[in-house]
Amino acid sequence: MDKELFTYEAEGTVLIIHLPAELDHHNCLTLKYETDLLLEENYINRIVFDFSRTEFMDSSGIGVLLSRYKQMAGSGGTVTVYGAGQRISRILKIGGIYRLVNQYETREEAVYGRQE
């Protein structure tokens, strides 16, 4: 079903991942598999997570962000997010994500913005 689909977009060395409406353990398995393949075959130094369609997320989403963060940080890259609504922002905050990952309002900032 469409609401379960992840879509990926590459812009230079930036990988943009458009997340589905719900992000849980079940579909995070797909996300891991697909991003691993993409990262193997492309040089990527920033992963941007687009939360603008996402309405539900549990700690599985936090796990995915943390593991991608570690992967990027290990090679000097960064992870950013944009499009998170109030609900998702709260989950990201409780999960401690904002200590590691910068949040932006727009896609452009998330793709080109500086990591502090």
Binding site: D24, H25, H26, F56, D58, S59, S67, K70, I94, G95
Partner: protein
Amino acid sequence: MEGRNNEGTWMRLEIESLSSNEEFARVTIAVFMSRMNPTLEEVNDVKTAVSEAVTNCVIHGYGNEKGTVYIEAETESDQLTVKIRDEGKGIEDIKRAMEPMYTTDMSGERSGMGFSFMEAFMDEVLVESEPGKGTTVTMRKRIGGCSYG
């Protein structure tokens, strides 16, 4: 609700231990609790907590093997109780399992925050477990905290 809204109501659900059933479980509880006139935020809080507990049964209780996840919920006035049980391998050290960031998962994809999320989104979380027998998580939340009633 007409008639007997002061009496408690309950539901029971048994599902196969499959990751695809995590959504089914949380949506079912969301529909069940809708009779309590919850706020959208309360529904989302409970959905997240249920998703965490069912995910634990699938990944840890049954180790991604076949099994049954038992879900019970009841309402009593403004109190929602959700009980999620598996007959899987159980937890050796509950205190440690509940520590934030602690996980036994080796894939590197798990945050170790499942119990922290349950505690953040529910009023009360009780974990009972016996190694080799299974685990029961009982969660309570008062619904309607922001209503006028």
